[in-house]
């Protein structure tokens, strides 16, 4: 999926919430949006999810999408299960497959016992589970989560983390916002930072997350891989792998949590040879700052 100079404002005399965002959302990428309150994170998520058309630019190549809004006030005249059955059909599931998917997700999120109750009678957390279940029913190629963890019990939070991992493993992309800095630390591929003028800068996802992957390396460690025989096309692929911090000629710097996977990929390419692997402290790459050290600590 590609965002092409996407801008969004809520009316012709309103300020731009998001402006000239040109970014790709590649399969298998986990993208975290960051920014202050009101910086346009939710707006950008809505545009990416196809809930809201951009005011300028366009979004192309959007896969089937599941969207979990920030708040889901279940003020609808359905039981949780009936609502999910309807949404499963809107998502394109048919017949017994729809009912199976509904039951599976209600069960996984621990909401099966409440599914027969009207949405109006459900607690905030239970409504949130219904909102999450609907987004996951059809195993979407793009999952968009706007503070989806808020209000969930611990088991359901873990289940949502697992669901995100499954989407990524299936080659789906996941975009999310969460106030918890440590959320999904170690799996994040890139971070989009929204500033107050509505512009987005992209940072790699591993600056604050190396410790989360549990690879046994110290969190501050970066793995430097030296290669030979690297053609231009694998170089582009290499740059897109999760955890790749920088690509400088034939020298790749990789977050320690992702180094095994990157090496596995590289070794699989014909004509590419690994000529050296060493580690260096992350501070040398200039990728991390003081605040992110704090986040890293929270991540463990």
């Amino acid at each position: 999926m590609r965002l092409e100079s996407v801008g969004k404002r809520y009316g012709p005399r309103q300020p731009w919430v998001v402006r000239s965002v040109s970014l790709d959302v590649l399969p298998g990428r986990l993208i975290r949006l960051e920014g202050r309150n009101g910086s346009g994170k939710s707006t950008l998520l809505r545009v990416a999810a196809g809930v809201s058309l951009p005011s300028t630019g366009r979004v192309t190549g959007r896969p089937h999408t599941g969207y979990v809004p920030e708040r889901f006030p279940g003020g609808l005249p359905f039981s949780g299960r009936d609502y999910l059955l309807h949404l499963a059909r809107v998502h394109g599931l048919r017949g017994p497959g729809a009912a199976r998917a509904v039951d599976e997700w209600l069960d996984r999120l621990g909401a099966a016992g409440y599914a027969g109750q009207p949405l109006r009678a459900l607690s905030k957390g239970m409504c949130q589970k219904v909102a999450i279940a609907q987004a996951l029913l059809a195993r979407p190629g793009l999952l968009v989560l706007d503070e989806a963890w808020t209000g969930l019990d611990q088991a359901a939070r873990g289940e949502l983390d697992a669901a995100v991992a499954e989407r990524l493993a299936d080659g789906g992309a996941v975009m999310f916002v969460d106030h918890e800095q440590a959320r999904l630390a170690g799996r994040i591929s890139e971070r989009w930072r929204l500033d107050d003028s509505g512009q987005v800068t992209v940072a790699d996802g591993f600056g604050d997350a190396a410790g989360g992957a549990g690879s046994g390396f110290a969190a501050e460690t970066v793995v430097v891989i030296e290669l030979s025989g690297l053609e231009s096309s694998p170089a582009a692929v290499l740059g897109g792998l999760p955890g790749v911090l920088s690509l400088d000629g034939a020298v790749v710097r990789v977050s320690s949590g992702a180094s095994d996977e990157v090496l596995r990929q590289v070794l699989g390419w014909d004509g590419v040879h690994v000529t050296g692997v060493r580690t260096e402290p992350a501070a040398q790459t200039g990728q991390t700052g003081q605040s992110e050290r704090g986040e890293r600590a929270a991540g463990r």
């Binding site: 999810a49 969207y67 609808l76 949404l87």
Partner: protein, 237 residues
């Protein structure tokens, strides 16, 4: 689109937003049917009363869903044009609800009015037989009802969210536009109701122009509403 329509229809039924329109429409028709009216006039009355009723149902469908669940459905209906299709499904469901009421109204009118015929019939079977033998009056009434249905739906669409989001203004505007639609002679509904293209059968066919105009109004209002829903201006409340 079928799944979206099913969802919106279920929403209309389960939210009980059809009960008030049904009662109101029933009362309005009953008023019109008091005394013995000729069938053609009775059908015109039941068609005219569809305008406010359909506008009201459309309004209900446009405000019944919380923003968050609209967004969820729009994403699910994607990946492209999801919000547009979700909005159209809500509008179609409202129109279909109005059509059901219109048919009920027409049948009720048929059974309670004086059919045009050589001799007065009183029994229900007589009336139905007479209609089968001379269907023109009834069919003309249905076409008039169709014009009114489209005009009412267009009025409800134009005067409510997302095109008009202020809650008080939306309710007042809906009422005002419904009155204009019935009373002003530029309105296709008014034109259809005034039509006296009486054939020798006594049928009052609306003009083709009024039917075309009502379809055009509906198309314009639906397009505008769907576009506005997709652009999704932030709500005022």
């Amino acid at each position: 689109m079928t799944a979206l329509l099913r969802y919106q229809a279920a929403l209309l039924l389960r939210s009980n937003r059809w009960i008030f329109p049904l009662i109101a429409y029933g009362a309005l028709i009953a008023v019109g049917a008091a005394g013995s009216t000729p069938l053609a006039e009775g059908l015109d009355w039941s068609a005219a009363m569809l305008v406010p009723v359909v506008a009201f149902i459309t309004r209900s469908m446009l405000v019944v869903e919380p923003d968050a669940s609209r967004a969820v459905v729009a994403a699910a209906a994607g990946p492209a044009d999801g919000p547009v299709r979700a909005q159209l499904a809500a509008l179609v469901a409202a129109l279909a609800g109005g059509a059901v009421l219109g048919i009920i109204g027409a049948v009720f009118t048929l059974l309670t009015s004086e059919p045009a015929g050589p001799q007065p019939q009183s029994g229900v079977t007589d009336k139905i037989t007479a209609t089968f033998n001379h269907p023109a009056i009834f069919l003309a009434g249905l076409v008039t009802a169709l014009v009114c249905l489209f005009v009412g739906a267009a009025a409800g669409t134009m005067c409510n969210p997302p095109l008009l989001r202020h809650p008080g203004a939306a309710a007042l505007a809906t009422l005002a536009v419904v009155i204009v639609a019935l009373a002003a002679n530029v309105s296709p509904a008014n034109a259809a109701l005034r039509s006296d293209i009486a054939s020798n059968t006594g049928a009052r066919w609306p003009s083709a122009a009024s039917l075309i105009a009502s379809v055009a109004l509906l198309a314009v209002s639906w397009t505008a509403s769907a576009m506005a829903a997709a652009r999704r201006e932030r709500s005022l409340s």
